[in-house]
Symmetry: C2
């Protein structure tokens, strides 16, 4: 007597350990999820598209990676506020089974997708609370993540002041290099290739974000999803300031920067590559000594300074200074 949609919802709920949850009053199977919140905390809300052809290539991206990444990148917005994840809603539109079977890449797609999502959910402590399902020719995903942060401690984009130092976590541009390798069909396992792994299985910097927020060390913060050259202007706009960054300080990918036979420029990858999910944050100059060189094995690098003058420039080693143009990912670019 159950409809197709009911069966589909049960399959998702089972794969994602729906019953094992204590912090939710109820969820999958009712009209909406109920979340009991902790006194003294504020709720963080964020959502992200993850669409076939736009955000992943169905024949290239393993479904396990798609499941992991669509949750991980939404969690990166929680990290960027200094928050802790609580639960997520999964909106999923999938082709019918017949259409799926016609596509060679689609065998066991849903199982593998849910497997990757389950691993990410467990690793980052974020449980499924609900969602919506429908049928569609193409795979469409939208993930809403709910997090929490101590009241008043959320780190925003608006707090950077002139003189603050600018930091980034990790290495920038690796994920873009990984994407280029994937596009060119380089047959490497993500286990053996750092760039590919970074592109397919990004790790939101939740612990770092919380550490900075709890100690009030970051005056402003955001995550790098579209590339430093597009995201730094957004932070500066939010804080009504400018920035000067040092080309030589930007942590770019090392080693042979090739995908198939094409050679890439490390600095261009680091400035304009998307999908890094590293944190960009500013620190008052008096607090800089409290920032370690690395946090849980992720390097923290000072790349420049916030300026009163509302321009964003990059200083090169030859002494020249040029405006930094936003050349990162923009779905609306002509």
């Amino acid at each position: 007597m159950k409809t197709g949609e009911d069966k589909f919802v049960r399959r998702i709920a089972k794969a994602l350990d729906f019953k094992s949850q204590k912090q939710l009053a109820l969820g999958v199977g009712d009209d909406a999820a109920l979340l009991v919140h902790r006194p003294g905390y504020e709720t963080i809300l964020t959502c992200d598209w993850f669409l076939e052809g736009s955000h992943f290539l169905p024949g290239k991206h393993p479904p396990d990676s798609i499941g992991w990444k669509c949750l991980a990148r939404a969690l990166s917005d929680i990290a960027a506020m200094g928050g802790r994840p609580r639960c997520f809603l999964l909106s999923l539109a999938l082709p019918d089974e017949t259409t799926f079977k016609e596509k060679r890449w689609a065998t066991h797609w849903l199982e593998e997708f849910l497997g990757g999502m389950r691993r990410a959910a467990r690793q980052f402590g974020c449980v499924l609370a609900g969602g919506d399902t429908t049928q569609r020719r193409e795979i469409l995903i939208n993930v809403t993540v709910v997090g929490e942060v101590l009241a008043g401690r959320a780190v925003q984009r608006s707090g950077a002041k002139a003189g603050d130092r600018i930091f980034v976590s990790g290495t920038l541009g690796e994920a873009e290099l990984g994407l280029q390798k994937l596009r060119r069909g380089t047959r490497i396992s993500p286990k053996k290739d750092r760039a590919l792994r970074k592109h397919l299985y990004p790790e939101p910097r939740l612990a770092l974000g919380q550490w900075l927020a709890d100690r009030k060390l970051a005056s402003s913060m955001m995550d790098l999803s579209d590339g430093l050259s597009s995201d730094l202007p957004r932070l500066c706009e939010g804080s009504r300031v400018g920035a000067r960054i040092e080309a030589a300080e930007i942590p770019s990918p090392k080693g042979p920067l090739t995908a198939s036979k094409q050679q890439f420029d490390g600095l261009a990858l680091a400035l304009n590559g998307g999908d890094d999910y590293e944190l960009l944050f500013t620190v008052n100059e008096n607090d800089v000594r409290r920032i370690p060189r690395s946090f849980q094995e992720t390097p923290l690098t000072e790349i420049g300074k916030i300026t009163r003058e509302r321009r964003i420039v990059m200083a090169h080693q030859d002494g020249t200074t040029k405006p930094l143009l936003p050349r990162g990912w923009d779905p609306f670019r002509k």
Copy 2:
């Protein structure tokens, strides 16, 4: 220096009164929204797809109606829990301007869409808190609504007991009749046609849901989105009970049930028509006298009884009883 996406986000934020909000600590423009919650309340979370071709027909549905309806139907899930709306996240994927201009129906699409959404947001007291935007050949919408309910007062699907009476609000099947009129291109203004109005501009039964929840009058509740024949089994499944409904009691559309030249059966519309967004709820028999015949001009009709035996049957006026088969909307139906 702003990217295309930044401009698009600002346009949405402006149209939806983003700055006028007090209950949100921050939102559009930062990585995530921050929600300050009231002590003694739980948070309700729900999300809904609204996709071109699946949930609306771009040449047939006015963009104003699409903006209204995608928010109203997500709010209906908040009504079904007895909750109050707080804020929403809008995920929107749109074609580029060139593609839009090629489509005759698309002039001023975004303005009209945001206009309809703004009217619904104001009418139902739900403010924009954030979202995600991207570019896509087809229009894709996903709405997440956050609501609140007094702790312990949320009405779930699991509370119906044998002997409880089954009620529905409003008239069932009108929205389906409206859709049939729209599909057949009947040139009627929704102002003059009740069925068309119900299909294009549904009104979530928020006040009724809250009234029932605050007084603990409903033992279980859900909203009717796919049709009574599909939704009643879901409520019974959630409560591990069965139901017996009376065909003669089901509030079906009155008047000439025609769209173009086709004649429709009122009972079939009421049982299987989707998009009603009325409330289906159960009431302990001792509380039935406290349920008025109508609530704010919306009729409340007793249509049957919950049974211990886990079957769902409909009794006809000729004395026969037949199983009720789920024939409502199911995106996964073969």
